[in-house]
Symmetry: C3
Subunit: 343 residues, 3 copies
């Protein structure tokens, strides 16, 4: 990058304390940063780390009152400021596809915008449409009649099957699959399973980010929905007819079974499981590995398997930890009772 | 679609009640259906929904005795009838590859049937063979000497490694990997791990369906087997030398460790784990997130981690839920005993 | 293969007992082997299986004192000996890419070694470098400035994003993704999530093996590290800034959350989860499905969810299994106390 502190402070609209001519060449965490690095702290609770850091400048929140011997830039939100800087740094670093590569196979009835970029070895089927400035990496497959908005990034090996609708600014990491068949079979009298056709669609709304190797199944009828701004981490499973509200954050390897619904701003730790036909209200939080089999109202925090409200789960787990001692206490009681009875 | 009720009733062999000339244009769930939609109920327990539905016609099971003000078609099995209709609707909707795309790279010693369809950017290695009417989407890789039957569908980005045998009518969703090396290492005295070569194969029998991003490892020796008609959902892991019987249904994110065996019609909820060298009999059912470390006989229903027969698991979980109260009761007993002792 | 016992004994440096001219045509497990097969046992505890085996020769460890009616080859480590044989057998069996396929798209500023092999439909970005004898299968994507060592094998559909460093002799199975963005967002006052740029890298050291559909995220800053010789099974998730020490063995579907650190020779069963910022010492073992939320010192064996040292977990689980009976015992005590009080 190589920018002066003056340039950086102006770019993020921050208040510089220290020499404006110092040159920054990299960005790093507060503990790992060295000479020439810019670093940051997100809140006042980390202000002790500033002086000790090897960074040449630290971006700090306005709330910090103390002054430091090293240059600082005060801003409203250091994390947002840093993201703004990083976006510029990254712009040159990641080789997003530009233009339409000659090996891209685009059906004559597919519609590309003027600035749609298709990498090498991409396949766009009949009736598909892709918006302005959307970048599609190699080995991506866009199915028939699928509509994709503008400013999206699809990394290598993403498969979007037919009739899917994807909004604007959606980021999809490698190997992710959207629109595969829901998992449904009718068992016959002889024990064999007959496939139930899955003719619904998937809607992925604006500003969604999907991690690597995420699987999102199409609905049996109707639609599976990933709500505006929701973020889904690597290796998650979203089954048919699931409805995820806006601004949810679902950590890796979580799975949501068929027809379940999440409200807005639901947050899951990793490896959470949700049974089918469950409804979770807005702002529900589930700790890692929770197994949720029932519906819960808004703002419930859940934990354990089977999942319970976290206070109850903690009481139970504390009790469970003391169980071997409880058995001893009961044995002691039984002995004493015997003694009393024999008196 | 646009078919009259008369045409639909004839096609599914059902008994129409209502005007034969009504035109159906779509299919939808009983609650979501509107004007021009065909819908269905699977059993008599849902018959209250028929009258309230916006559907123009509802397919109902023969057992329904009531009559309705809206058109109905009575059939033996509404779900099967609907699937039959949907198959026709979908036939035109999904753009399965046709013929052999000029960019398909087929080894001169690979054998394709006359009607094998290979999409763009597919790679078929030496000695591989693919049967009649099998459709292979873009970015699929078929390894050396692998044999694939007829009427299969492999969606984009499926990798089948060498020496694998796949039957007829097998459906494989995007990103799935069959035949990767089993996970086996010999630890050396210095703590390093030496890879154990995996020279066995995988057999995927007729009528199997594999979801997206499923991983099925080849055997160390011999074979890993997915039995006839079994269905395996997204993101499942099947380790080396696992034998899965016919007509099993394994929900998403489940994993089966090395050399374990499942009988026929075994059913798993999501995120189930099975340890290595475990045998589960026919018709075993495991609830979501169960962790199965031991063998269980046929027809056992399992739940929890570590998994137990469901009745036992329920008793235990009910007790666990009451644990904090049990501690209070024991404390009360201890106090009373002390009182009695001091008398 | 078709080799004589004399040739095989010489090749593995073993002591042959039996006719040197017998011809071996295949290799199989001790129970499954038949006429013409070579088999093996790994320790003396299996020596009863030798006589009963259908194998034409069995490789046995030096510790076996008994003599057998069938040919045997005594070696220090039968498993290692067999692996050595299998390596030769497999060399001809797996069709690794040779040379650079004409459809490989290699940026003019990428550097290939003389013996780098690129399969059909591979994409190598600007500044990437790949070492001698590394084999890259079809549909692999190697990002900008990524450095890959020698003697690696990347199976089909592997995606390595930009600025990643991969050592020598690394094996990566199909569909695996290295270097996707870490999962990090700043929540705004209006509840929306703003992406935190992830500008760190991933380092995959020498002799690592990654299974199929593994996801390894790049660091926010700095690096995510997979230590020398570590083995990671299918469908595992390694989050941003995770540091895995050397010679770890992580079984399928396990996940490690952001910034956690594993020492050397850590072993996980399947479906283990580790929370963020956890440190596990050298030689820690975690049983399948364990949910690890806290740091643990070296040599701890963990089990259950939330994970505890295994002795404690076993005590607790034994107690939990007896809980319904404990409730009965407490009820009986309460009745007796009432009786005593009423005396």
């Amino acid at each position: 990058m190589a920018k002066t502190l003056k340039e950086i402070a102006m770019f993020v609209g921050g208040e510089l304390s220290g020499s404006p001519d110092i040159v920054i060449k990299g960005i790093n965490g507060i503990k790992e940063a060295g000479e020439g690095d810019l670093s940051f702290i997100v809140s006042t609770q980390y202000e002790d780390l500033v002086e000790a850091s090897g960074a040449s400048c630290v971006v700090i929140p306005k709330q910090v009152k103390r002054s430091f011997s090293k240059p600082t830039i005060k801003v409203e939100n250091p994390s947002t400021a840093l993201s703004k800087i990083l976006d510029v740094v990254l712009a040159g670093r990641i080789p997003h596809p530009k233009g339409v590569h000659p090996t891209a196979i685009v059906h004559e009835n597919a519609k590309l915008a003027k600035t749609t970029a298709l990498g090498a070895y991409t396949v766009i089927e009949e009736g598909a449409s892709i918006g302005e400035n959307t970048k599609v990496y190699p080995f991506c497959y866009i199915g028939k009649n699928t509509k994709i908005g503008r400013d999206c990034i699809f990394y290598p090996g993403v498969t979007i099957r037919e009739e899917v609708v994807i909004g604007d600014r959606v980021i999809i990491h490698p190997g992710t699959v959207v629109g595969s068949d829901g998992f449904g079979y009718d068992i016959q009298k002889d024990g064999t399973q007959v496939k139930i056709p899955q003719i619904g669609i998937v809607i992925v709304e604006d500003d969604v980010e999907l991690g690597s190797c995420v699987t999102i199944d199409r609905a049996r009828f109707n639609k599976t929905v990933i709500g505006k701004g929701s973020k889904i981490d690597n290796l998650c499973q979203i089954a048919h007819n699931v409805i995820i509200g806006p601004d949810c954050v679902i950590a890796a390897q979580s799975g949501i079974a068929g027809s379940s619904e999440l409200g807005r701003n639901v947050v899951f730790g990793g490896q959470v499981g949700v049974a089918d036909h469950v409804k979770l209200g807005d702002f529900v939080i589930a700790g890692a590995k929770s197994g949720i089999s029932k519906s819960h109202p808004a703002k419930t925090t859940l934990f354990w398997y089977p999942a319970k409200p976290v206070d109850k789960a903690r009481d139970i787990l504390a009790s469970v930890g003391l169980l071997p001692k409880l058995f001893e206490r009961v044995r002691a009681l039984e002995a004493k009772i015997k003694e009393l009875e024999n008196k």
